[in-house]
Symmetry: C2
Amino acid sequence: MRRLACLLATLTVTLPVAGGLPAQSADPLPSWNEGTTRQQIISFVEAVTDPDSPDFVPEDERIAVFDNDGTLWAEQPIYFQLAFAIDRVKTVAEEKPELKEQEPYRSILKGDLKPLMAGGEHAILEVVMATHADMTTDEFAAIVADWLKTARHPTTGRPYTEMVYQPMLELLAYMRANGFKTFIVSGGGVEFMRVFSEQVYGIPPEQVIGSTIVTKFEMRPTGPVLIRLPKIDFIDDKDGKPVGINRNIGRRPIAAFGNSDGDLQMLEWTTAGTGRRLGAIVHHTDARREWAYDRNSHIGRLDKALDEGRKDGWTIIDMKDDWKVIFPPVRP
Amino acid sequence: MRRLACLLATLTVTLPVAGGLPAQSADPLPSWNEGTTRQQIISFVEAVTDPDSPDFVPEDERIAVFDNDGTLWAEQPIYFQLAFAIDRVKTVAEEKPELKEQEPYRSILKGDLKPLMAGGEHAILEVVMATHADMTTDEFAAIVADWLKTARHPTTGRPYTEMVYQPMLELLAYMRANGFKTFIVSGGGVEFMRVFSEQVYGIPPEQVIGSTIVTKFEMRPTGPVLIRLPKIDFIDDKDGKPVGINRNIGRRPIAAFGNSDGDLQMLEWTTAGTGRRLGAIVHHTDARREWAYDRNSHIGRLDKALDEGRKDGWTIIDMKDDWKVIFPPVRP
């Protein structure tokens, strides 16, 4: 374990990250175009941080929650954690050769994802379990760190940790500079995200909430370990998001950022609190620089939340119009 | 809900708290006697915070976890949360009169706890469910806050929030002043502890880990609520403590404080990490000023953890010898 922990430490330090957090400057949101969206965000932050404002919120109550896939980083053409699972199938099939003859593994190994996608949520869950469980938490973290170092996004060729939204990195830093505690609240696996959240987003592991699988304490001759079992513990999506927030944070956020119907209940829960609140939706409108999708997308479907957001006055972030750049600059 | 939230805010502000955190002074641990125990703690903190020490730990990795019952506040003659449940039986029996004829409720209402205690864990769990569930999270928090304001400890007559250990309040403040993030990791209910943790211990809700019951998001005509269901979600005790730590914190603590065999796995998990670690046990040795109990106690049984702690060089805090005072001074 000592060796693995050291390995992990090494890997983590060398994760590919572009740009990083923006340098201190007069404008805290340099990648955001002037306009209503930017103004709504700044006006909210100023109102809750000004001690003379009727909307003032004490610092320890300034909780802001962010969805991850499609809100902080991209989620096309498939969720990045699913890309990890698919890459892992090769390794797992070497350990369990019988999988090579079973669907959807057989097709995945030939590069064909159709049987996997046709199997829907059930098939995806099965592949996730086969690739994410039956190992210790330390082993899993090392595997994820290793994958992030080498894997590349299929259309941009960039490391996944560079497929993050530069304007959102600036927003996270801006809110923290104003006394906010920033949390990720994602349907993604919590132990997958924690490997890169601190380095990429400046969000420490204890502020990452996500889906979990059942984990078991075991005393081995070499010392105690936590084993990841192939069994779902908690799905942090839709109705689950307010539940996860309540379980891990224990107070209601005053700001929430999402991009899909999976974030609807989190946005409702946040904005229904007393006092001034900010609900915001990242709307994928930029087919040229990113992807354009909403009501008819299988990934990140945004339908009900868009209607409710427009009706209730949530801030709708239009990626095409509101953002000067999408991704951090490519490193030389 | 708005009314309840306001009510809760009012109640929380007026919780009885004695002493508070110690004033800034040359000695950060004024209630600790000079000696080995005090020295072991200070030497650990100095080693991990000194950038020139081989044991140096970066600030964001300085995670310290504390059990609550018997470690931060007393747990005799019964766990304080059980005292809350018993007091709640009166109210619940008014709402559900059929309980008045059923054991253990019938006896509890007459002040007799024997049938409850004879029923063991199962009976206690049933009473906890009957008194802690079927309401919203906001309603539950308001009930707990109200109880803490009025309830008094049966032998000292003090509010429960004054039955906290003054030396541990100093220790929490000392560790935080040295860049530690302090967490509670307790078998107690997380939503019970969060009502007072920030005001009494300076530990915010998001740093409290405890047992949970299943909670459900529900959209009501008045807005969204979280309903507490009478079903166990997670028991944060024994094997569960490292699991809870992994789920909510996502990295291994470097210091752990407990007082019973329920803390054994948390202490093992913490001290098995690489680098310098501190495992510590609060040993209840003071029959005059507090209570003296260990191996043969039903509450806070300390047997295996005491043996393992002595063998592995954990710091054993002897309440009688190491602490100048136990509780904060009584307010005039």
